[in-house]
Symmetry: C2
Subunit: 424 residues, 2 copies
């Protein structure tokens, strides 16, 4: 891990990954074929990409019960506790419909309603992530979404990972389909014979899933286009090097393109962390991935003072930010852009990945500048409500008609004036 | 306007407009050229598409002052009153940062911050819509966005419409550039020599603008992809036919592809409105547009009862919904999907377009199933905050490590366990 003075730092923000032209064209083709051929296309793509010939897409209740037999009871009990923490935190975010009343008798407000249906994408491949199932499904349940659908690519033997099935059942998923990739996204957006379409697609996936989500955005809603994971640790000389190093490596092990950055006011800490990272890397099972990530996208920035360190963090707008400094509260107040902020020694980032209750689906790649962690607002929408009074109407009708006419919209003006005519 | 029994109604939802492949390729090219050639590309495209050779893009304070000379004082005064109503309604939506505390000493919450910068697109062409400037800019000001930029295509003489300039100044825009189309969207997303990039692009535009917004989504945030305007009037025999007809036509005059639909339990009202629409059409200045819209996308559905009428409305998920029935309150409660809901005779839809204070940038084309009117949440974002206590940590560390190991993420488990080691 290289140490830079913040003034000599290379440009830190990575460009936003949007796939190659070839990948985008491939995704467009897949979507088109699913739109026209439905289930047939899903079976064919599953054979081609996942190497398995399925007879049906939908997971049965029997398969789910069988999955419970294979999963450790202690793990199920931990998952249930995590689920409850996620539920409590997300319930706090629920919005009420509201109305403001005016002295002229008018009422204006927002009516808040849940989405009817949501589709959750769960990646397959080498690792199964039941925690992501909870993070995407529990907020939907809390928001009151009635139909919650999960899709995930089947393993070579035609099954889904049992832990993922148990997590789906425990979190409140109603329908599960064995299909992944861009074809799963297309099916959720447009529907097929066996998969009715949903209103929104959430959850992380590989580049093809990300591109397909962006492609169907507008037809349905999507949560975000997630890139590789990132962590920034903001620390001073009160932080413990072995803890900082361990937290940096917890992101680095995700993906060779993950990014782990330390921003510190202490050159001593910088050097100690640098050494600790090297030491700890050696014994990691995912050493190769983590080392590539640290070499390519890891960095230590040493700043003159805390103000400058905070500036660097806001410039990075990281997915995860840990604050391990004496003046933690001041720092928290001054941070403008970060997906999730972990304050203090005991707020190690995996606490939030698995257990605290906050969401781990977070904006990456600097998009914390304009977007939020997955949250209840992703599963609810608002309608404006206008209940205009006769008094307010008569007082303002001419103004409204004048404004409309100034824009050349005569029928708008006449709609208002039709109420001023003699009763008919 | 044709009358249907709701059971024999043709499929009502229109497909979501996403442009032809040719249009999409053209937009991709424009974006690429702006990314590589910056201002030069903007000048060239402005010459090509808007037919004017500009010397600079940025509007000067002198030009804004000159615009005030050309705009009627009474109109400015009406616009200011509308702006205040918009401000008041959107201030009610402001969210606070919050924290929940747990008995084990842990605190979890959300920190709410405004976006740093927003770009507002304002269409040019035949009609200037100062009302849209207020709708997109005032909520940004209320949310605390520091840098608010406006772009709009220049007229043939190289100027912007004076009313639009006055609306920009009155609403709080800080920078204005004479550039429109996909090239303006690309400039806002990637920046050029004279236009620094923004974090989010909002506001309506033509198909090229919509496609470009979708293309840059992810690099920056966007509000929505808006289609042609729509209104559904839900009415019983207490509604007045000439008022219903006038409201239907107020949407029809926007665009030949606008959609105006009456859903009613009363065949008498259906027939009377049908006749009124024909009558009123004849004297409209934009008769041709309105007639094409009514013929192509207008319809009257007569339902057996109010329940069925509400079902039809929820199926349509209209941009604008007017409720003119005796049991208005029950109806309002049962409506699930609509952008803006106008209740009662005096809540004619143009009241909301111009004056009441609610936003007129609304989800179209059935997207009210999953999206909301433009609102304060579009200009604010949240960061999760985790302040985990020593007590909570020690109680749950082993569970978190177990969960992490079950996902094969050893470095996550070790990050947790590093805190349990002897002090170093």
């Amino acid at each position: 891990m290289k140490i830079y003075k913040s003034t000599e730092a290379p440009s830190i923000r990575r460009s936003v990954e949007i796939g190659t032209l070839e990948q985008r064209k491939a995704v467009l083709d897949i979507i088109e074929i699913v739109k026209t051929s439905g289930d047939d296309a899903l079976f064919a793509f599953t054979k081609k990409f996942d190497g398995v010939e399925l007879e049906k897409l939908k997971v049965t209740e029997t398969e789910i019960q069988a999955a419970y037999e294979e999963v450790d009871d202690e793990l199920i009990s931990i998952m249930r506790e995590a689920r409850e923490n996620i539920r409590v935190y997300h319930e706090k975010q629920l919005k009420n419909s509201w109305m403001m009343t005016q002295s002229n008798g008018t009422m204006l407000g927002q009516k808040v309603t849940p989405l009817d249906s949501v589709g959750v994408y769960v990646p397959g491949g080498t690792a199964a992530y039941p925690s992501s199932v909870f993070m995407t499904v529990v907020p939907a349940v809390v928001a009151g979404v009635e139909r919650i659908v999960m899709v995930s690519p089947p393993q070579k033997d035609g099954t889904l990972d049992p832990v993922v099935l148990v997590a789906a059942k425990e979190s409140g998923v109603k329908e599960i389909y064995k299909v992944g990739g861009a074809q799963a996204v297309a099916a959720l957006a447009y529907g097929t014979e066996s998969i009715p379409p949903v209103d929104k697609i959430v959850g992380p996936g590989n580049i093809y899933v990300a591109l397909a989500k962006r492609e169907v955005f507008g037809v349905v809603d999507i949560d975000m286009i997630a890139g590789p994971s990132e962590i920034v640790v903001l620390a001073d000389d009160t932080a413990k090097p072995h803890e900082v190093a361990a937290d940096l490596l917890s992101q680095a092990e995700h993906d060779p393109r993950s990014s782990s950055v330390l921003v510190t006011t202490s050159i001593q800490l910088a050097e100690a962390v640098q050494q600790e990272v090297e030491e700890q890397l050696k014994t990691l099972p995912r050493e190769e991935i983590a080392r590539e990530s640290i070499d390519e996208f890891g960095a230590i920035y040493v700043t003159e003072n805390l103000e400058e360190a905070i500036e660097v963090v806001n410039e990075l707008a990281p997915e995860h930010l840990e604050i391990m400094v004496k003046q933690a509260q001041e720092c928290l107040a001054k941070i403008k852009h970060a997906g999730a902020i972990f304050v203090g020694r005991y707020s190690s980032e995996p606490v939030g990945d698995y257990f605290a209750g906050t969401n781990h689906v977070l904006p990456t790649n600097g998009t914390a500048r304009f977007s939020s962690p997955l949250n209840i607002d992703d599963y609810q929408k608002k309608s404006s409500v206008v209940i205009y009074s006769e008094e307010a109407f008569k007082q303002n009708a001419n103004k409204i008609a004048t404004f409309a006419r100034s824009e050349g919209l005569e029928a708008h003006a006449r709609a208002i004036e039709s109420r001023l005519k003699e009763e008919q």
